[in-house]
Symmetry: C2
Subunit: 400 residues, 2 copies
């Protein structure tokens, strides 16, 4: 592959820090920042030819077969009136974007090992990858919390990602998709493989951080984005009794019945708390997932269900990012024995292999895929998704 080139969808932007911005400890002048919306201006996408990557030591080159478009991709390309990037987090440019990826092992370094077998990968093995390249060496990683790695790289964000033919990643973030092949066709395996990463964001939120449910518990999901819908499927799989989704958009909610949701509530036209209490015969819910990013709007309703419902020990999982404070009534937490937890990331805690195994055994998350495009169509789709809220998950499919 040494002299080959490939087409890659790469993001460029102008390094133009706002007044008062100072380089942070992990920022690199002109190349990388942890505060993208303070620094990057005029993001551009270019479909251009780049060299096919070669694997070193413990690296794996994956030939991409599917790569999903994430809200992050949309927000990196979207700008405010001054041309500054919407996306506030870590980025480094130029970089090939795309991080919800699956494909086959095309090459592997001499030290690369498959975590599932502790043996070398087989060429052609179907795999997916985590988006977070946690270092494995910093204190949080050593303590078992890779989602909080202090030396993080992110695929398709500050290192080259998946909207191209080949991507190179360290072996430690690669997971075999073999378990999926028993139940699904090859094409389905790749499309499901590209859904593993967002599925693991939802899994980390409701299972690892939220503690999941005891079978028979009720849950309420706020917001029908991919993470909210994937969380519904995971909690139904975990034995949830009644799964209620609160979502004002009919377009977003239409997939809910196929994702394990029993009842959809439109909080703009009916009282979410009253409806939840009615649907659950006054019990309320054990787990609430805040996946809207609008805590001032949804948290008072969550509190009302906890206060008036008869379920003790409710957990509120906060997975959506928001600038606004959450207006929390301590007495509700006290009298109802409740708690609030924050969730971030998808790595560690056995999450990837468990999500893959759940899908392999029949947790079908394909309904969230509402459209597919080819590599030439990704940029237009990313632009379209800034305003088109009818899609749930759009994937780019690549030929073998």
């Amino acid at each position: 592959m040494a002299t080959e080139t490939m087409k890659a969808l790469r993001m460029y932007a102008d390094w133009d820090p706002k007044p008062g911005f100072k380089l942070g400890a992990k920022d690199i002048e002109g190349r990388q920042t942890y505060l993208s919306s303070q620094v990057w201006r005029n993001p551009q996408l270019k479909l251009e030819d780049v060299a096919v990557p070669q694997p070193k030591d413990n690296e794996v080159v994956i030939q991409i077969r599917a790569c999903g478009i994430c809200g992050t991709d949309v927000h990196m390309y979207q700008t405010d009136d001054d041309g500054y990037m919407f996306y506030p987090g870590l980025t480094g440019f130029p970089a090939t974007i795309g991080h919800e990826l699956s494909g086959v092992v095309a090459a592997a370094g001499p030290k690369a090992l498959n975590k599932g077998t502790n043996r070398p990968f087989s060429l052609g093995e179907k795999v997916c990858a985590e988006e977070m390249i946690w270092c494995g060496s910093c204190k949080p990683c050593a303590d078992g919390y890779p989602n909080h790695c202090e030396r993080l790289d992110e695929i398709g964000i500050n290192v080259d990602g998946g909207f191209t033919k080949y991507v190179v990643v360290p072996d430690r973030v690669v997971w075999s998709l073999d378990p999926l092949s028993e139940r699904y066709t090859e094409q389905e395996v790749f499309q499901l493989g590209a859904l593993i990463e967002p599925t693991c964001v939802a899994y980390n939120a409701v299972i690892e951080r939220g503690g999941g449910v005891h079978p028979g518990d009720n849950v309420v999901i706020l917001g029908a984005g991919p993470v909210g819908l994937l969380a519904a499927a995971i909690l139904k799989r975990n034995g949830a009794g009644t799964v209620v989704l609160s979502e004002p958009s009919e377009d977003r909610a239409r997939l809910a019945p196929k994702m394990g949701v029993d009842h959809v509530i439109n909080p703009m036209t009916e009282s979410m708390p009253e409806r939840v209490l009615q649907l659950t015969k006054g019990m309320g819910a054990s787990l609430f997932l805040e996946a809207t990013g609008l805590p001032t709007q949804v948290y008072p309703d969550i509190e009302q269900v906890i206060w008036e419902g008869r379920t003790l020990n409710s957990t509120v999982v906060v997975v959506a990012r928001a600038d606004a404070k959450i207006p929390v009534t301590g007495e509700v937490l006290q009298v109802r024995r409740a708690r609030i937890v924050g969730a971030q990331g998808h790595s560690g805690h056995g999450t990837f292999p468990r999500a893959i195994e759940s899908i392999a055994k029949g947790m079908d998350v394909r309904p969230v895929i509402t459209k597919t495009v080819d590599l030439d169509g990704v940029q237009a789709m990313i632009e379209e998704l800034q305003t088109d809220k009818t899609q749930c998950k759009v994937q780019c499919l690549m030929e073998a």
Copy 2:
């Protein structure tokens, strides 16, 4: 004892509901309410002669030897400008007040059994009692959450309590103080026995609800009332590394070094977050106890320690009641893998026997006792404590 009488400090008040008040499901016209500050006016205390109680079936009569004055006692007697009671929770009058009690078993009904032995109590056995008479039959009780009993009575609050010679209570809330006798004198056993109830409020908050600490973890206690100081002793016993107390009052903070506190911070004259980060070498803390009731003042500081400190997985336990909302930044919970839990009560979860055993094995909580009075002096002390903030725990001692 049948014809005997005894002196009892009893509270009376006028049933005079504010406009708009409606009797709740568990309220009793003229006798009991769950919203005391909406109903009761002109609370009065009278030291009067009442009949000595007799035990029925599974009841135990305890001859009181010590009974602590709680903030609840003070707030039941304190009124606003219109004469309405400060205390907002459940009360029923008239009732003998006092609920932090210890003494000896003076009589027991034919079915009364000691939970520690499943055998009848011995007459003269030293015991203490929970304040909450959880029913043991409602759904929360049956599910193992007696602190959230739906048919609750409270000793010294809506049923007769301990500022007298004898109190009658159901066997299920009585705990033997025998383990204390190996280490402490008889008088100490009674004084410590009367501290078990507030110790268990702190224990329930930081251990049962907060999850305690791994030995070596740092903790920050906000507020040096009895619960804050008792929590410090419990967490130090649980292996806490650095225990920091934030308390503006020097009077309240002066007991801290004897209760396991390593460093006291005055948040009015220094930055609590900066000082905690300095004292913990940038680590911050694993557990925060909000025991001030002033969440708008202390929560932003707690967040700053969590955000800037390197400790992941911090737990904030909210034990103090407050009307104000807690201004919670979801991103802090997400990025730092943190959580907030509410704590209420002291019953269940093995808390009483564990607190007793901890004290028996050397967790000395006597320093919180700053004064003792006799029964004749309780009313004046309750009045004095409305304004005198130099005392920590005042106990009424009774002759054998």
